[in-house]
Chain length 492, copies 4
């Protein structure tokens, strides 16, 4: 428990209060950034002649030696004070007592969170792109694998498994785009805002920003210490991503029932019951579904905390940061596990002629009546509707469709027979043929899906380029900072 | 990683999948209850002649020896399987292999959560009643301490600090009542529901329920394994409690500003700034305010997970239990810290004649005009409104009120002067006198607040009686269970 | 736009501001209660000699004549001021100007909301009990209708449709109990708290409370105008109810797929597609599922608004009341529609011998091995697991089980054959027989479900008694109030 | 109630079911877009030779005549069917029965929502930029107006009102940027996806997209009908904006208390009490604060509805669209009212020498000791802390600071006196001087704020350019569509 700040205005703190308000354990996540910020700040102070080179060098050397020597416990106030204490310990109060000159915890903590968060965003995008890649490889094997497309969980029209997977891919891609845009809002430097009003020392905010690899200074100083929108932005995007992931997982959950039987998890991914020996439960899907949904609670809770808070720093901020890290870790874990499932998923060969799926051809019968017999669509829609009803009432499937039945119903609706051919009917019973005919942009026709997949492999390449550029920029900045320190230390 | 369930229907599990879906770490919280349930279940199996006495005794002995020997790690499936494994290890498969006869993890886990939760509810009520007691002791010292009552944060009418505290007390009391009602909904026994359909063995559900200290069996077996409303109910109540606590804390936050200056935290509860040496920040209040608000996120997240899940057990359930425990711990911690603050809070003597507070007398001037001069209330309200406006426009306070001013404005509004006396004005300037006159039921008059406080000390006694009754009932049940086991073991 | 309050302290209001902050349209819902409160209040003022009988009678007469003459528009401040204006209009300022003596909008509005809410709670319980009744009538027809019980959406064990329905019934019953308890927290009278500090006039709060049919006065005056927990409590309970309703609806949605085929909606409840003529979509289920889920958003939003508000009245309160009424209406509508669905639901006769459902017998094979061959349960569980695996690998169902297969696997696991009889196998293939054997308390055996249903018909009676008692109490109170007024008017 | 779809597969619908599931009233908002989409679709069908020019022209003429003739009532299924019905009515089933050829409500509804939403986003940005402009004009008047900067609601350091306003401006600007990015995600065309699988007719999706002013086709057809992320994205951004707005409003609420007295609302924006004649309540701020907070509930509710839904269209979607429109309207109203408040806000001249504010100079005393006397910052921080403590204990303010006191405390801490000059003390008592010295990038120094404001006026211009470009692009597209129709009609 530090008393660094407690021998002036306030008498000593209570242990229980310090423990209750401590952010030390949370600060583990940002400790290395706190040290980097201190380095850049001191370097700037020396460059701007605010701190003597002699003092600056001693502090920088002490900061460089800190690595690994700091342990954070819940009886410490926070990571910021621990670093300052260690430096004063190492250099004496006369020198180290200047570490916090022209800065405050208010600007330092949000800067450190932003530094960690930009790395986490990159990590998330890496995980997403890895999942996308595995999805495309799975899709690649199923360009011609017909699966029923459902709406309202009722059989609708045939598509292919590859086409379905591309849809899930595209949803994830929009999250990647959002996260990339957010990266730029995160990567702004609040340092120099100090408590809320900057300082009367002639500091150079741009220099610190550059040394720490930021794009720009976050300008207005009141805004700089107040803003937590960057954090909500990320959490909101994870919520939207959760919607996309739970949709994919829900599809798999339903499709892996014995009744739907479209996919199956390998044994290694399934569980059984402690009482019912026959069970093969898709627990893993349910855990992903629930766990990732909980990021909505984190977002709601965090937004509630921020709502109606007055401007500038309030300790309330401290309580939402852990929710941010937790949401990111949860999402990252779930995506990684989902990638493994995707790589191992069993697509079952469906009996496409089974009763329920036979009706996937119905729309094509309606289209055929329009195309070949100039029946208006709404009329042909009704004719087919009546046919379906009759078949079902007779306990039959669409496979039992006959030229006679169509003609008879057409007569009833139109007043005249139509000269339908058996060949026409057998054509529309061929689901592969139907899928091939859905050959407009974005449709399930294998040729079109192939084209889309090629484009998406290129999208993956682009994302990977973005990732390595951002990573390079950051590691170069950190290297540059170390070089500047080495240089100045060598001249002391 | 247990393979107890993996040598039949499914080939072995993947380590990463087990780790991802494991509830072992969460199950630490309910491990002792899992063991108690197993004891009661086996005892009942023997009593019902479903399991031989010989086997039953061996299992019961092994269960009794388990205590402390179980360590749960994230590579284990869950606490239930670990216990079964340990018993099989100790007694052999032929005997221990019957531990799970006529039960399932589905009924066992919800039973164990209910057992833990009923204890947690008692603990929460203990913490609440402790806070209430400290509040009444604080109030006791301030029966005559006038504080401004605000509405919309604008000075309204004078009350006393004791009266204010009783209001906060009453809000907490409603949470206690809600938790007590919820206790009864929690304290129902699902055991015997098995997976979802009970069993073909002639088990005795009432016996297990009684042995485990439950009020009753949770009857319908599908409902028994499905229901998670008891858990949402508690979390919802904590959310409502959070509203009450944040209100109290927000009052303290605003009242401890230099501008309001009504209360002050002792130094030991405050923090200073790393840059601004004059600061005395009520960090502790902000941490409570934010931390307890986050239970809303836990509730929202958990309700989202449960929404639209199909009936019976889904693994999604597993993900919300930790949110329940977390919410309870958070609330309990915040209430405990608040109790300490209440015990140490400094109530500052307010300069009641200060400008802003002088207007607290305005309503009484209006009432006086009604009472003594038969002016209708809406008219006297207008007269006083005009007076206030004039005083403010002249930079004056309500202390500057004169007989002349009132009379002049009355003339303007009514068309005639009123013979107001100086004594009447000085009377309504006396805030203590006003407070004394608010002597209707529930009002701030010291006499009435005294009466209310006496009643609330009795309320506390009643709550304490409830607590000890519930604790006794549970400890008696556990003792009875142990006695039954001792007895049967002694006869083996 | 009223200027009743605007000729004193404040100059006149802006039209746009009044429209923005107006609660007039929302107040339509509580207008009749505002009038009743004014009646009771004036009656009490006369009884307590605070207002002359003459004035009181004139105001009461005017209040009695108000009925239907008030129209609320968005350019009015609120319902309270409109009533006061009308009374002043009818009786003159000298008389009507006393209507608001010793009361405030702060106590009046929360009293009026509580009066409306207690009626809405009764209405909700009526709707719930109507749904319950329809559920029991449906269940009654399906005591012997076997349906597969699922866990994790995988076939688990056989139950009956009646048993399933009783589970849903019981979940609804817990909401009824919660609402009944909440009724008592709602039915408390804040009147007399005035702005926040009661009044210096010697009012009688108990009398007003009694005249308005409340159980008791809500005592502490600061608490009385601050408390909004009663409103959150109702909204939280609706959220929990939404979880229960969406679960039932989700079951129906999945069971009405062509693949599961357990239930079907009559045509009148289904929709078709504008493009796919074969579709029969359960739109109605999806609308209920989504619409009722939205009450969670109402709760979250309202709790967020209340979090960290300072004590006493804030205008923020006004914004959450519409969310309360909206949530109640939404839930009531969804429950009513669900009741119609329940009354018309088609339960399809399932081919119980179909592949996927054959495995519902597996647990009973395990139990049989325990029961008849003294194999420990965990071992028999493994044996059956291996059998299931083999059958599935061979593309067979549990119907293909043979004495030989069991014996062979038993030998493999146990080291010896078991003398299983064909009769034993055919017995466990009979799902009706299995269901009958699940004859423990709360189980699906028809006899037991019959017993449970009888008890639940009694539960319905009890709820109906509660409803009529509450309704009687309220209508008697309203009648008494009118009688008191008639009496006093006749003596004027 | 339309039976257009009900004479085939399904018998007629129930009135109550249609009313319950109807989206007709909601569809009012998108009706004009439904018509535009039908026009573009039919035009494309003719251009692609899927529909004869003759039929196409007749339908287009009927569509052009529709304007204003459609009334939507709750007994109609939805806007889509009403339009189709009207067209069939006008042109006969043989012609109009082809309106829905190669499209579905699934693609049509999401296209229409996107068309409306892109306009709403533009409108929101217009409202935001109007508020920003008013903020800058207010700031312009207060470049030199000192206000206390607070952290944790405790006086921290002096800033200017202009500097404060720029902070709020910048927060709003980030919402504008987010909305602009979102515009591009919204402005994608799903048409041609049909039910989920495109169609076997050779449609041209790019053409429809272009005719309707979209940037691009939303490619994958399953994704096109499933995606609702665009809607959540907007709602999430409104939630973040709500945090920013409530922060600004909360500042104003606290600053307009009599105790803080920094700002005041003009009478026209304030309300009084019905009982307390002196009250001037900032109701309007509280209504904004609460009302805009409720968008969080809308977001949470909507995300909950979408979570774990299966792919493609579900009727659940219909229930969240009204929440989107409601959130936008709420935010737009609140921002407009806030703009009026900003234009009329009274900034009060603060007595900067008042007790509480005198301590705003404390940090500068610490800085001075560092700067002029080479005392390390942490030591000078402690010296000033002790001085503040002593002054407060003696009931004094920072104005009572003397050379002697500083020197004495310095001696105590450092062991030696420091030769402080009276001039140095008087300098740091001058808050304007301090503010001028905070002259680093983003600081409150008037010169720097002036520079920032100039830049922000340019930002406004840029946003306005964006707005007019987008508006032009859309109106040109609509004009082009009309021209194409005119052209084709003239050639019929």
């Amino acid at each position: 428990m530090s008393n660094l700040l407690r021998k002036g205005r306030l008498s000593s703190a209570r242990r229980d209060v310090v423990k209750f308000t401590s952010s030390a354990l949370i600060d583990k996540k940002i400790l290395k950034h706190i040290i980097e910020i201190n380095k850049a700040h001191v370097l700037m102070l020396v460059e701007c002649n605010i701190l003597s080179k002699d003092y600056g060098c001693k502090i920088l050397k002490a900061l460089s030696n800190l690595h690994g020597s700091i342990k954070l416990f819940s009886n410490m106030e926070d990571g910021h004070m621990v670093v300052e204490e260690k430096i004063i310990e190492a250099t004496g109060q006369d020198i180290g007592g200047n570490l916090n000159l022209a800065k405050s915890r208010n600007d330092q903590v949000t800067t450190a969170i932003r530094m960690e968060l930009r790395e986490e965003i990159i990590r998330l995008i890496e995980t997403l792109v890895d999942l996308q890649e595995k999805m495309l490889h799975l899709a690649n094997k199923h360009l011609f694998t017909i699966v029923p497309g459902y709406t309202h969980l009722q059989p609708a029209q045939p598509i292919t498994f590859a086409h379905y997977i591309v849809a899930q891919f595209d949803a994830l891609q929009r999250t990647i785009l959002r996260l990339q845009e957010t990266f730029d809002n995160v990567n702004l430097c609040p340092m120099g805002a100090c408590a809320l009003a900057t300082t009367s020392f002639p500091i150079n905010r741009e220099r610190v920003s550059e040394l720490l690899g930021f794009n720009e200074v976050l300008e207005n100083s009141v805004d700089a210490v107040t803003a937590r929108d960057f954090l909500l932005e990320v959490m909101a995007e994870l919520t939207i991503l959760a919607v996309d992931v739970t949709r994919f997982v829900e599809d798999l959950e339903i499709w892996s029932t014995m009744e739907f039987g479209i996919v199956e998890l390998p044994d290694g991914f399934a569980s059984t019951s402690s009482i019912m020996p026959q069970k093969k439960n898709p627990d893993i899907l349910e855990v992903i579904r629930a766990r990732i949904s909980l990021v909505l609670g984190n977002y709601t809770g965090s937004a509630t905390v921020l709502m109606s808070l007055p401007s500038t720093y309030n300790m309330d901020f401290q309580e939402i940061t852990p929710k941010l890290w937790q949401s990111i870790d949860t999402v990252d874990d779930c995506l990684s596990m989902l990638a493994k499932i995707v790589s191992n998923l069993i697509i079952k060969s469906i009996a496409l002629d089974k009763h329920s799926l036979s009706f996937l051809s119905a729309t094509e019968l309606a289209n055929l009546l329009v195309r070949n017999y100039e029946i208006p669509f709404r009329t042909s829609h009704r004719i087919v509707g009546i046919i379906v009803k009759r078949l079902l009432e007779d306990g039959k499937s669409f496979r039992d469709l006959t030229v006679e039945l169509v003609s008879e119903v057409a007569k009833q609706v139109l007043g005249h027979y139509i000269p339908l051919k058996a060949k026409e009917i057998s054509n529309i019973m061929d689901l592969s043929r139907i899928v091939e005919s859905y050959n407009v942009k974005g449709g399930p026709a294998p040729e079109e899906v192939k084209r889309m997949m090629k484009a998406r492999f290129e999208t993956i390449s682009k994302t990977e380029t973005w990732i390595s550029e951002k990573k390079n920029k950051l590691s170069m900045a950190y290297r540059r900072l170390e070089n500047c320190i080495t240089e100045i230390l060598s001249s002391c």
